[in-house]
Symmetry: C2
Subunit: 328 residues, 2 copies
């Protein structure tokens, strides 16, 4: 019988699960909102439920899965199976939680392996997505924040465990305050959370925008990627200005990373990257030109090809033969 695997992408707003076969084909998938009020154990239960739903959609059951991979925010200890500090998932997740064991217990004792969400997303694009023909890659996930993953000579580069923080490259010394508390980080200009805070300040100062009207019409409480996309389609001046500013910051930070590492390719994904897609990724690529030290042969810059399920597919790779190297 063919070996099926489960993959779960644990995010701040949703849990995405897939069930794949040996050829990485998606046989079933499911998505549920991340529960915010039941702590890490409640999140583990919802992961198991989402997996069960994906398995049912695939015409199978969790008990038939060979193993399960989970991509999570926070600091991952792969050997211990723990996740430390993932308050974006649920506010109570401030300490260390044995997520692998908790999910395994609720998933028929299946083996569970953890990975960093951004790392597995980058790995998925490298193995199965937009960067398959390259040996070195910078993955950029443009969403609430801006995360990054680095692959060099076909292996993930984790440094001392915290490499890849592309969102915290400094693009303006003494510049805007970032969610991380520091100044001038790229994410302070390009992260959706920072952009929303900026938009709210501009509105408080009396500036006009359709952003919040679109948000309310869509029944949202914050500026989702879809809201930004709609406002851009309507040529809303504030949205256009803030996205342009974000593109400038992304281009500078990515070009800086390329000047340092000279990678072959850059893949841009995440909620905003995937939603805005090729026209905007092309604008980032064009804007990078003014900062590239070797602008005669820029890296390939592509939209993430796996879309919303890239993270879950990458998580499933954690328990395949193509599993990325574990952090040193």
């Amino acid at each position: 019988m063919e070996l099926l695997r489960g993959g779960v992408d644990l995010g701040g707003t949703k849990i995405q699960a897939v069930v794949v076969d040996g050829g990485h084909r998606v046989l079933g998938e499911a998505r549920r909102p991340t529960p915010k009020d039941r702590g890490p154990q409640g999140v583990a239960a919802e992961i198991a439920a989402t997996l069960a739903e994906a398995a049912a959609a695939a015409g199978t059951a969790v008990s038939d899965l060979a193993a399960i991979g989970v991509g999570s925010p926070g600091a991952i200890d792969d050997a211990e199976g723990t996740v430390t500090q993932a308050p974006n998932v649920t506010p109570e997740w401030t300490g260390t939680f044995a997520l692998a064991a908790a999910v395994s217990e609720l998933a028929d004792g299946r083996r569970v392996r953890l990975g960093n969400d951004v790392d597995v997303g980058t790995w998925a694009e490298f193995e199965l997505g937009a960067a398959r023909e390259f040996d070195s890659l910078l993955g950029v996930f443009w969403g609430t924040g801006v995360g990054g993953g680095v692959i060099l000579e076909g292996a993930q580069w984790n440094g001392r465990g915290a490499a890849g923080e592309i969102g915290h490259l400094v693009v303006r010394v003494g510049g805007a305050r970032c969610g991380c508390g520091r100044r001038g980080c790229m994410e302070a200009y390009a992260g959706r959370q920072s952009m929303e805070a900026h938009a709210r300040r501009l509105v408080d100062k009396g500036q006009q925008t359709a952003l919040f009207e679109i948000m309310e019409k869509r029944g949202r409480t914050n500026l989702s990627s879809g809201v930004w996309s709609r406002a851009l389609d309507r040529a809303d001046p504030m949205a256009t200005h803030l996205i342009d500013r974000a593109i400038g910051a992304l281009a500078a930070a990515i070009a800086s990373a390329v000047n340092l590492l000279d990678v072959e390719a850059v893949v841009i994904g995440g909620g905003l990257g995937t939603r805005l897609g090729e026209p905007y990724v092309d604008r980032i690529s064009e804007r990078m030109q003014r900062h590239l030290f070797r602008n005669d042969r820029p890296p390939a810059v592509r939209v993430a090809a796996l879309g919303d399920i890239g993270g879950a597919l990458g998580a499933a790779l954690l328990v395949a033969d193509q599993a990325p190297a574990t952090p040193a």
Copy 2:
């Protein structure tokens, strides 16, 4: 008989040669100005003459050297033994010159291997200098410009051949014009050439400084590292201000690189880095703190330990067993 090796650091102002034994001990050294008016062939002749002088100081002759390594600016093709575009060495060096063959012919047919000057300088600090106990390193050479070298898991990372351009990380989008023609590069604030141009503009605007007076007293035509050092010792306000600005830019770019790569160590050398030494490197390290994403465990930040002859020692390593991996 013990195998002796020659190492040459080819710079824009000087040629530094060493003769070393199997234990990397310096048996003899010599230094000559880089000839500016005789083209690449004239530079090759002066390299051979400087080597002969170093060999004589070591009580030997070039004919007794096992092999010779040369670290050079410009684009190096190790296999072909060529250097392309090194106008900082001599203005006529705009095309490709077969430096390895030219030096070999003038050096008794000894085998000559070429490396990038910054890469061999970084490698020397990694093998023999301030970063011996680490596996990953960012080398930063703070001088006329600001060059960088990246070592990951004990091997040089060259990317597609042009990695390590730490001086061209963007620290201010739309900022100061850099010597490379782009805007906002770290080197536009921290490179000695940019700082001198800035100082001259401030003087043209009527500001006072002792920098140019010190320069003339020392019989210089430009602001050398020694001139900056003297001006700082005298608490010259313009020098103090410009060096402080340089430290801010260096700190931001180096912290950005650490946020991306999470290396264990940073070594700061180059004319200014070596001259200003530990107090200023400590200031860069302190200033990095405000930008480090993981500021609870910063990398070790150290002054280059090999000083002026680091580049030549690294060049000699090109022809030792510990030779760095060649660029992919």
